[in-house]
């Protein structure tokens, strides 16, 4: 399997052409204020909808054309870092590479008369933190894929998730990481709906897997783990559960198992409702959201108006913190490195106590957004602080793992989905206030942890 490499990603919708990235690059690389020397170039153009911006930057291509056209062997792709390296001692300044590149990623530096290109600042690109709008990201998940790709996928191919659902991604990554010495519980919901436990004698999973009841996942897993512990066998007891079963009808067994410190990893895939059953409200559904049991409607005379869910979501991960679990964390599939770090800690914690991992999982079908937008919706949730990524252990308390100190307005998140289409300005104001209030609650916990 081919290797993948870290890369600088550009989101043109967030770029306003301010040029801060170019100034940072020119400064770091050449101690210069001349942005024409920057190795990253933002190019503006006018469109029907106003100004738009494009990126001229070396993509560190997997199949680079610049290296193949170079007659002197001055350009080579580093097999470890993935960076295409330029060797000035070999370069004959023919400029063929600048014609070979489709991205204007290598260009003539008129100051020196030689070509220049981005080297990602040895994995710490100066342009990325300089961007005030989050249009640039240094994507460093490649190591996960390089490592994980060689591990056995413990789910059957072709699980029947909705198009664009990232829960399948989450399931495959999680089980690869946890490994074959696992007993997996997938209570009723999307995860068995995809076929994890199979149908009429077939199975979707290569580890022992079962449907608990919606209500007793944690209790059944506790019994399994205890018996293996009694006979001296090491297994990981893993639940991949939905938010509805965990926060509503299954909460008692979840709370009881957490209080008793049962040794398991309980992962909640939070798509904020009973999505498998037809998109009904759960206690994790956010305020204002349309669901099939909190529909939007009004009476014919206009006297009655229904505008989605009228209560705020239950904050299940914070409730789990109050169980003093061995580990509690929130995660998002848009932040895979963060998720993997937490997964590793949670697996470790599950060997001695109750580990709880709450993963936000946007639902293309139930939240009503295009199937290619899942990661973007997940990312926007974090960038607006609608979802916060943090972790807790009894020793270290709560701390943010991906703090967003300059959040985007929550409307950037809300407008990405149909389920919030009907919101009134008052409802949006309520949600924005709640986002800020929730942030302050976690901040206070984090500050207290820091002070302690």
């Amino acid at each position: 399997m081919g290797r993948s490499f870290n890369t600088i990603a550009f989101d043109p919708s967030k770029c306003d052409g301010c040029g801060d990235c170019m100034r940072a690059c020119a400064s770091v690389k050449y101690d210069s204020e001349d942005t024409s020397r920057s190795l990253i170039q933002i190019l503006g153009r006018e469109t029907d909808k106003g100004s738009a911006f494009e990126l001229a930057l070396c993509r560190q291509c997997g199949d680079p054309k610049c290296t193949t056209v170079c007659p002197a062997g001055a350009l080579t792709k580093n097999g470890e870092s993935g960076v295409i390296e330029w060797d000035g001692s070999k370069c004959v300044d023919c400029l063929l590479c600048t014609i070979g590149c489709s991205y204007a990623g290598i260009a003539l530096d008129e100051t020196t008369g030689r070509v220049s290109k981005c080297d990602t600042c040895a994995g710490n690109p100066a342009c990325v933190p300089a961007c005030p709008h989050g249009a640039l990201r240094y994507v460093t998940t490649s190591n996960i894929y390089n490592e994980v790709g060689d591990w056995e996928d413990l789910f059957a191919p072709g699980l029947a998730g909705c198009q664009g659902c990232n829960t399948e991604l989450l399931m495959r990554h999680t089980l690869r990481r946890v490994g074959p010495d696992t007993v997996l519980a997938t209570p009723p919901g999307c995860v068995p709906g995809m076929g994890s436990v199979g149908f009429n004698g077939t199975t979707g999973t290569k580890v022992p897997v079962f449907h608990p009841l919606l209500t007793n996942t944690a209790a059944m897993l506790a019994g399994i783990k205890r018996q293996y512990k009694r006979v001296g066998r090491e297994i990981t007891a893993l639940a991949i559960a939905g938010d509805g079963g965990a926060s509503d009808v299954g909460f008692q067994s979840l709370s009881g198992a957490a209080e008793r410190g049962e040794q398991m990893l309980f992962m909640v895939v939070d798509n904020e409702g009973y999505m498998n059953t037809g998109m009904q409200r759960s206690s994790c559904t956010p305020y204002g959201a349309w669901t099939s049991t909190t529909p939007v409607g009004k009476s014919s005379d206009g006297s009655h108006l229904s505008q989605g869910k009228t209560q705020d979501a239950k904050n299940l991960p914070l409730i789990m913190v109050n169980h003093r679990c061995a580990y509690v964390a929130t995660a998002s599939t848009a932040y895979m490195e963060d998720l993997y770090e937490k997964l590793d800690k949670a697996i470790q914690a599950s060997k001695t106590g109750f580990a709880y991992l709450h993963v936000y999982s946007p639902c293309t079908t139930g939240w009503r957004f295009p199937t290619d937008q899942n990661m973007e919706v997940a990312r926007k949730a974090v960038e607006t602080n609608f979802v916060m990524l943090w972790e807790y252990t009894p020793d270290t308390g709560v701390h943010f793992t991906r703090p967003v100190d300059k959040p985007l307005p929550v409307t950037d998140y809300l407008k990405a989905m149909g389920r919030f289409r009907h919101l009134s300005p008052e409802q949006i104001e309520h949600i924005q206030k709640k986002v800020e209030e929730n942030r302050r609650i976690v901040e206070r916990l984090a500050e207290n942890a820091h002070a302690a």
Partner: protein
């Protein structure tokens, strides 16, 4: 499998300790002798002292089991399901509202064919609010595939509790088993009890046989309970195969319960009727039917009635689920009138549940036997010898061929 013993029952009996204890303690001592791997508990009246005894036996090192103090009965049974799927011999006890709360996993236990053993310290149903004995709880769940055996005495509680593990784990059964122990009367009633020797019990029970058929084990991975059924493909036939298997297991249990009781009698010298007990029935013209601890008072009443010249006998059901139709029909064949005493209510037929079940057996008999339903002992009310004389007299009247009452007689209505 069990190993042969060279001891005679008398020798085995001689090794037994004689103690005085209540039914709840007897159940706990029996559980300890059965050596379960896992016990899950949640307290509820009148079961509480039973699980307290179990907890103390474990705390004192007299019982080597993992005890899970679960947060409710629903989780109690769920923890044990997990334990059983991982190979544990498991036990718990509950009653009344606890059993009602447990119903969701309770229904599922028999479907997964998990040989979990659970005592029901029987309690009447709420509401009206009550914490006292009655069979309403166990009767309410009689239809969901658990084996249910009702005990008459504290000794029978102890012996049946051990036997229950052997029945549950029998290859031809593989079903969960309830020992029904009358709340108040047996739970708190102290009695002389012979306590079997541990080595003898070990030999009797043999190796545990828990999850050979369904397991959650990384060394033999399988999907447990995949979605089954629907109207297409293999769905209908697969679902039927499972359900039919449960029914077969229940029917097999009738034979296995008899075999296990027979072996128990041989090993320990104590004999209990496994399915249906007959008392002074062979020359009887009519009979009364009982269940559980009320039978003691009923037998005394029969003795007195016999002295008064009434040709009355008694039929006691021990194994209520599966319903021992054949054995019962054999007993019913001996009589011309029947009075059935229930300690619970069947709301749908306006009679006792055991009476209703017996009507089905009477149909199998193929001969009309007039029968009456009596309901008594609800919510801890006493069923005394005078109550049973009323039952005997009313049933005797049926021999005259008059009209058969269509409504039950409520024995404690004017107490």
């Amino acid at each position: 499998m069990t190993t042969a013993t060279l001891e005679t029952p008398r020798e085995a009996a001689a090794k037994q300790k004689v103690i005085l204890c209540e039914g709840n303690e007897a159940a706990a001592l029996a559980v300890a002798l059965a050596r379960p791997d896992m016990v899950a508990v949640y307290p509820i009246t009148p079961q509480s002292s039973l699980v307290e005894h179990v907890a103390k036996l474990i705390a004192d090192g007299k019982m080597d089991a993992d005890i899970v103090d679960a947060e409710g009965e629903h989780s109690v049974l769920s923890v044990l399901q997990g334990g059983a799927l991982a190979g544990a011999r498991t036990y718990t006890a509950t009653c009344g509202p606890g059993l009602a709360f447990m119903f969701e996993p309770y229904f599922r236990t028999s479907g997964m064919r998990l040989p979990i053993v659970m005592t029901i310290v029987t309690r009447d149903g709420i509401t009206p609010q009550s914490v006292w004995g009655g069979h309403q709880d166990a009767m309410t769940v009689r239809e969901v595939g658990w084996v249910q055996m009702y005990c008459e005495t504290v000794q029978e509680v102890l012996d049946t509790t051990i036997m229950a593990f052997k029945v549950a784990e029998h290859h031809d059964v593989m079903l969960p088993v309830n020992i029904c122990l009358d709340g108040n009367y047996l739970s708190y009633g102290a009695s002389r009890v012979e306590l079997p020797d541990q080595a003898e019990v070990d030999a009797f029970l043999g190796d545990k046989f828990v999850n050979w058929h369904v397991a959650l084990d990384p060394q033999r991975p399988m999907a447990v309970d995949p979605l089954t059924g629907g109207s297409g493909g293999k769905g209908p036939s697969t679902f039927v195969r499972y359900r039919k298997g449960q029914c077969k297991g229940m029917q097999n249990a009738l034979r296995v319960i008899e075999e296990v009781h027979e072996e128990w009698a041989q090993r320990f010298g104590r004999s209990f009727a496994p399915l249906v007990e007959e008392y002074r029935l062979d020359d009887a013209e009519f009979a009364i039917m009982t269940l559980g601890s009320m039978t003691g008072a009923a037998k005394d009443a029969i003795d007195e009635a016999r002295e008064a010249g009434k040709k009355v006998g008694l039929i006691k059901i021990k194994t209520f689920s599966p319903f021992p139709v054949e054995a019962l029909v054999r007993s019913l064949a001996k009589v011309r009138a029947l009075g059935v005493v229930d300690r619970s209510v069947g709301f749908r037929w306006n009679c006792g549940p055991m009476f209703q079940e017996t009507l089905g057996a009477l149909y199998r008999l193929g001969r009309h036997v007039p029968a009456m339903s009596f309901i008594g002992g609800l919510a801890g009310a006493d069923l005394t010898i005078p109550h049973f004389h009323r039952v005997i007299d009313a049933t005797e009247a049926l021999l005259q061929g008059g009209p058969v009452p269509t409504e039950p007689v409520w024995l404690n209505e004017r107490d």
